[in-house]
């Protein structure tokens, strides 16, 4: 009677959009242990960043992840700017906020959809992804590409957003907001959804801190930590309060992200309203030299870049610590004791992004 069920969960698995394997040991359907096995998307970007020129690296780090690509570029560019002692022009800073928040918004939509899919709520998935397409259209129009928008550059942005497009963004956001009003209540109030999320994958505030959780996972435990509080780009001028919840379960995480959607909409609106005129690019001067740490808030949490440069046109070391990387240990702690059916829900609740994790 003591032998247990041992099964692989991944790397190829329909609930996992990305390859990661969990080796699950179960008793009936209760998870006894879950050990992650990764390395299916490891590309060695940190090493590649030592090979490429630091200006080209912008395009490289954008491709750490296609979901949060702009913010990667932003983090990198801000780091280089610090090293070169330059500052992006104010308009560029606001544009960065706009794109960042649109990214967060699309990423959260994407997540909300996948989350719904994790507990088999197909029509909800469809609903979120349908709404997400509106945001993709904005990227398409303003940046010339749907996914990897390549608009961030060292010293500012590569593109400007025309007034017509700004108006279009505002209009779209109204629609997005309207749709959110329709679909967020389902995630938060639907009987069947609550059955699948409330009390599932719970960790305590202490655990979250100890295990180094980041982003919504941390904030769902009542820790008000959001890198946007650092005031990078134009966040300092926009007024910003991190969203927190207290229960530390899947439901709380979903709620944090749901509320952040609204927050992002507001931030973009505010940024567009306050958007100053002027230049969008400061010419970089000299080659980077020295070491800095640059931190920004990704949809999934705190992103940290450690840059070391020695004055050549290549970097000496680029270290990328992504939020999912930080959220894997909490995940390992959340799984034991849950039901097999809850595994996808819990895994999704940290909003895993493996390509970010493995780089």
């Amino acid at each position: 009677m003591s032998n247990r069920t041992v099964i692989p969960f991944g790397p190829q698995h329909p609930v996992l959009p990305e390859p990661i394997q969990l080796k699950l040991e179960l008793q009936d359907e209760t998870v006894v242990s879950a050990v992650p096995h990764i390395g299916y998307v490891h590309r060695g970007i940190e090493k590649a960043a030592e090979r490429m020129e630091y200006t080209q690296n912008v395009f490289l780090v954008e491709r750490v992840c296609g979901i949060c690509s702009f913010i990667h570029a932003l983090c990198y560019c801000q780091g280089i700017e610090q090293l070169q002692n330059i500052e992006a022009p104010p308009r560029a800073k606001y544009l960065r906020v706009i794109w960042s928040e649109l990214h967060r918004l699309h990423s959260h939509h994407l997540w909300l959809g996948l989350f719904a899919d994790a507990f088999g709520y197909e029509s909800l998935f469809m609903q979120f992804w349908r709404n997400r397409e509106m945001l993709m259209d904005i990227f398409d129009k303003t940046a010339g590409s749907r996914v990897i928008i390549s608009t961030c550059a060292i010293g500012g942005t590569r593109r400007d957003i025309s007034d017509a497009h700004l108006q279009e963004i505002l209009d779209t956001l109204d629609e997005v907001n309207k749709q959110l009003d329709k679909s967020i209540p389902v995630i938060l109030n639907d009987y069947s959804v609550r059955k699948r999320t409330v009390g599932i994958g719970k960790i305590t505030r202490e655990q979250a801190l100890e295990l180094g959780a980041a982003g919504p996972v941390l904030r769902a435990n009542g820790v008000a930590q959001d890198m946007r509080q650092l005031g990078y780009a134009a966040y300092g001028e926009l007024g910003f309060e991190p969203v927190t919840e207290n229960d530390g379960d899947c439901y709380a995480r979903a709620k944090v992200r749901a509320r952040e959607c609204y927050q992002s909409v507001d931030l973009v609106r505010k940024a567009i309203r306050q958007l100053p005129d002027g230049e969008i690019l400061t010419k970089p001067k000299g080659r980077p030299k020295g070491r800095v740490i640059s931190r920004v808030e990704q949809p999934r949490g705190e992103l940290l870049y450690f840059l070391a440069a020695d004055g050549t046109n290549r970097l000496d070391r680029l270290r990328i610590r992504t939020p999912t990387f930080a959220n894997v240990p909490p995940l390992v702690a959340m799984l034991p004791g849950c039901e097999l059916a809850d595994v996808p829900v819990i895994v999704l609740s940290i909003d895993p992004c493996i390509s970010c994790t493995e780089r």
Binding site: Q12, E18, G44, A48
Partner: protein
Amino acid sequence: MNILQKSRAKSPWILHYDAGACNGCDIEILACLTPVYDIERFGMVNVGNPKHADVLLVTGTCNKRSARVLKNLYDQMPDPKVVVAVGACALSGGIFHECYNVLQGVDGTVPVDVYVPGCAPRPEAIMEGVMMALEKMNKR
């Protein structure tokens, strides 16, 4: 076109494997499923299981670990089957083609029938790729 071929063309079941992508391509494939693109119009369903699949959509820089998975999956698909490589990474490694853990394209691991360039390719391009693959399958 006989009824079997017609059915094949009208019911491609898709297996998507991310062999090391940045997600860019993957979310575009997922976007194909969504109401705006709705590939189910063509009977395409993401079955997530090689034993049911007709079309293997591969994205991403195949690295050495995922190559073995990719191969395994391909082997488990019943004939007739086609492989569509999606995105620069899957075609050649793209921007990562010189990285230490990256194989230059998935065609070294499984036979690729259709190449869809782009980073990330648009959903339209992906749909076009799948349809080209089906044509090829029916010609075989």
